[in-house]
Symmetry: C4
């Protein structure tokens, strides 16, 4: 918590937060006179929804820069009035956009842990003891943030999209003037279904593996302070874009892909946003979960020495094959939580 303490919030607020799946106390700087402000309605709401707001805005910033970079490069392709007379950016701009979008999003969303990605939240629950009841509201906040941000990008570039596609025309790849690729990912035409899945799977596994390394305080290569994490993440995301971004567009994130896809469907890109690439849309929803889980498993298997299911008997699978054992561990866990006053 970097020098901050969880502030004693009023008991009604604690109940609300607990019901939402959050820790009863909000992560707020103690210096701030929260008590007085709790009299204001909106301040109470802000305290109750602190982490979801953080995830929402973190994802929002990520998508603004990410989708914004694709929009600028794609829509201005080959424009001769540009300085340098060849468009306002090249493919590399997209690596920059997503890389720095994630970096700045992590800065913005510091209060929630800055997952910005349901698959990473999922693996943090699975491998790193983040309580499972956090998952639903984080998930919702992430998808909504991505949905909203892609809407703003659409509004910002609507004149330009009209200019490129023709007024009111909206198409999806492989149309030659397709602009749907600004918002969500569409695979290269020569890929088999297996290759599509594998490409997303590999990129997601890399993502989780390296993030777990960067967040592992017992790895000697990693600075103990968290200060370097966002910059390292910039390089990681940049790298995924430059090295594994071609075949399927490195969605590696349900929120990043599904939110904007829904938005593009809503504004009129038509049913093809779902059917394109042989109903590709489910792959960037499912593959990131599989890939991140595998990547996290590999890290814990080979390197991690801290507390993880992989470091328990049967590598954590005892939970699955021996339900009585899982039940016993869970009860133990709940009992301990109650003792410590966390509901």
């Amino acid at each position: 918590m970097n020098g901050l303490h969880r502030v004693k919030t009023s008991s009604s607020l604690r109940k609300t937060r607990s019901r939402l799946g959050l820790h009863p106390s909000a992560p707020i700087d103690e210096d701030h006179d929260i008590h007085e402000r709790q009299k204001l309605l909106w301040s109470r709401i802000r305290i109750a929804l602190r982490e979801p707001f953080a995830e929402f805005w973190g994802t929002f910033i990520m998508i603004m820069f990410g989708d914004g970079s694709v929009a600028q490069v794609l829509l201005s392709t080959g424009q001769e009035t540009a300085p340098g007379s060849n468009g306002f950016g090249a493919y590399q701009s997209i690596s920059w956009g997503w890389g720095l979008g994630v970096m700045l999003g992590v800065y913005v969303a510091g209060d929630s842990g800055a997952y910005l990605n349901p698959a990473i939240t999922f693996c943090s629950c699975l491998f790193r003891q983040l309580p499972w009841r956090r998952l639903p509201i984080y998930f919702l906040a992430q998808v909504l943030g991505a949905f909203t941000a892609s809407g703003v990008v659409y509004a910002n570039y609507i004149s330009a999209i009209d200019h490129v596609e023709g007024h009111g025309i909206r198409t999806v790849p492989p149309s030659k003037t397709a602009t749907a690729g600004i918002f969500c990912t569409y695979p290269q035409p020569f890929l088999t279904k297996t290759s599509q899945f594998f490409s997303e799977f590999v990129a997601s596994a890399l993502l989780m593996f390296v993030i777990f390394a960067l967040k592992d305080p017992s790895n000697n290569g990693v600075p103990k302070s968290d200060k370097w994490f966002p910059l390292c993440l910039f390089f990681l995301i940049f790298g995924l874009g430059a090295c594994f971004g071609w075949e399927t567009g490195y969605a590696i994130n349900l929120a990043r892909d599904f939110g904007p896809r829904l938005m593009s469907y809503a504004v009129g890109y038509g049913h093809e946003v779902w059917s394109a690439g042989g109903y590709y849309f489910w792959i960037p929803m499912v593959a990131p979960f599989c890939g991140c889980t595998f990547g996290g498993f590999l890290y814990d298997l080979f390197i991690y020495t801290g507390r993880s299911p992989v470091n328990t008997p049967w590598m954590g699978l005892k939970h699955i094959f021996r339900p009585d054992y899982a039940w016993q561990v869970r009860n133990e866990h709940l009992r301990r939580e109650k003792e410590e006053g966390i509901v």
Copy 2:
């Protein structure tokens, strides 16, 4: 103030500074034997104008690199004698130029807070208790810094501009050989007035939102030390250029746009610098203030828990709708200031 103390300046200097709208004591390192130097005329001037000088030179450095990068890319477009035989830079160089220009400008202008942008100074007054009387002289210093720097860039590239446009000819887009775009921004021709305004508004809102996050000491994602701020700003400005820089040229700063525009008018680019794009020139003057205010408001609304008008009854609007209340708060504030000896 990072370990520095405001030095006891002589009482005449204190009065001068106060009259200029500055804090009576200049932010100068105590180790420096200011007392002795105050006998020198110029040292007195330097102490009196410390923050305006910092803003002037910070903005100067920002514009030198920013306008310089546009000049180099635009004027050398397609030059075959370049290594790589396609000009001395591409559109991305401009993202680099502005990004690192702002970064280095912030390093240079550390003594004043390094706003470099009237809209950001304005929002710091509105949301972060920077005294309003600082605004005029900061504003002046920023515009003058941008004006001067663009003049130096013009002087540096005058041979090359003559080479590209023809001796003594100076044109404004959409002329094919226009070089006015080196100094200030001109919108893409297909944009409606609304899209022009919206594009500047969105980029400004993003700018202010992320800067408030990076400057928020109670945001857990942000390093407590200020050391990372300039580098993060590099990524932020780079991102605005790569993701929202095409349509209107991401001025997002009155000083950055109006200063150089005035300079280009003065050296003979003609009346078109004002009339181009349907008298576009007022948009990068007005939109940044609106956008930054909205971005700052969003941050305070959803994330900020410190002292801000948004965290007061009626979200600070009580000041507007109940003048008696505002009067009362203001008197309270002045009284406190007088007690603490700040005039």
Copy 3:
């Protein structure tokens, strides 16, 4: 060891590790309840093979991003459906890929020292007192990591390779559609054998010279903390790619070149992977050792003031020309080790 202590591992584990050439105690965070976990078979294996696992995965990550970037740029060359309509990356992407691959690999492999390169391990033994018995298992882990990672890259891009070369066709430069260059390096055709060797030699010497500077705690220019090292390494590798990467592809690493070359031979690129460029394959195996040794020697000769053979009589060559002296030094060394309980 950055605040970690070598944990008392059980005596059978100590013996196993010692036999493998490793330090008897594994570098594991003391807080982790290793004792209990040592009852689990896999945890014991993980402790026994801690440093080889770190080297394996560090090299793996490096090759994933490095080879991945070459694959993406090479296979998507000129693709018109790309945003910007000219492929998914340019040569610079490859500098990014290798630079950030090494950076992230060093973060991952912190527990072993993160050499990722047999030549650097070799020079650390020669000049920096890393025990020679570490070399074989580090070497094996590095080559295996590179081999495995290049296999994953191949699997990921197999559809695309089929698309570019034709189904099941695999060729080696100078074939026009050659894709073997994704995995290992092939020299430019106009180079003489001497130039090939010299180019790898110079790049390797630069690599070792700058790494020794960055790791030299008595060099005033270098931050005392290790935190900056991975980022500096990014710039160093990026620079080698941008400045000395053309002629021979800057392998500068036996593991990086030989591992993937073996893999490409195994999957059917044919005997040409060895014979291409006049049986070039041995140069990136031998030259890095010569170059790194020379670079390390130069640094120690002109700048290093710490403990190094160069700072002993006859610049360390007394060991070579006077075997009795070497024998005496070695016995002294072994005796001291035994006293300190390191076997």
Copy 4:
């Protein structure tokens, strides 16, 4: 001195160092058992020449990457076998090469202060109390380092130069296949002599102004630790290349231009290396001194509050116009030095 102490060196060494213009005690880590090593001849030489060696190798590294990047881009222009099929790098690679070359050079040359540029050494003497007697040997080391490094770059790329120009042919711009631009700078043909001078002058002034800001411990914007300096320098040099690098090639450094120019003359580029561009060669020798002096003067005039001639009566010009005053100050200075035992 970052936690290091100047080691008591033997009295004969102290005399040698003093005669060379260096501080009598070498900046060496106290932990290192220097006393014993002083028995070795080479160790004595290394201690005597510590700072010149540091400047030599720092400049060497800078030129290796800088000239190397130009060589790679220029010689591989348009090569179709490159991944991406358009050469191994574009103009931006050169910004990278010089930027990271300077950064890594500063890391390497930490023991001497890492000036790497006679004009910066000169301004440090003029404005920052670096003793003038350091200048000659630093100057020599810098020019020799640049000369040597450019020779190694030439040797590395000799096959490729033969390939591009024809065996044994070496030409200077404006020849179409000229490769002399790899080593030193040649101006664009449309520039007048004034523009040539002004361009180098402006870039040098920017360089010195920003470096003085980054090195000013009383500037609130600058981190107190030196750790960020090399990275900031990367951005500064990158920016000069991207924004002011076109017209004259941003030499801004006598050593960087004259050393390699001499080398290229020596290996047979002919008399044109001096006569090209209307005997341009003297401009990158003279303009950096003028520009850096002006830039340093501006910084001290408007921002610096520490000890500087500009902060003395008559802004330091009293020294020039009143020789008796200068004499008096100098005697005072020498007397103080003698008292403190520095000869």
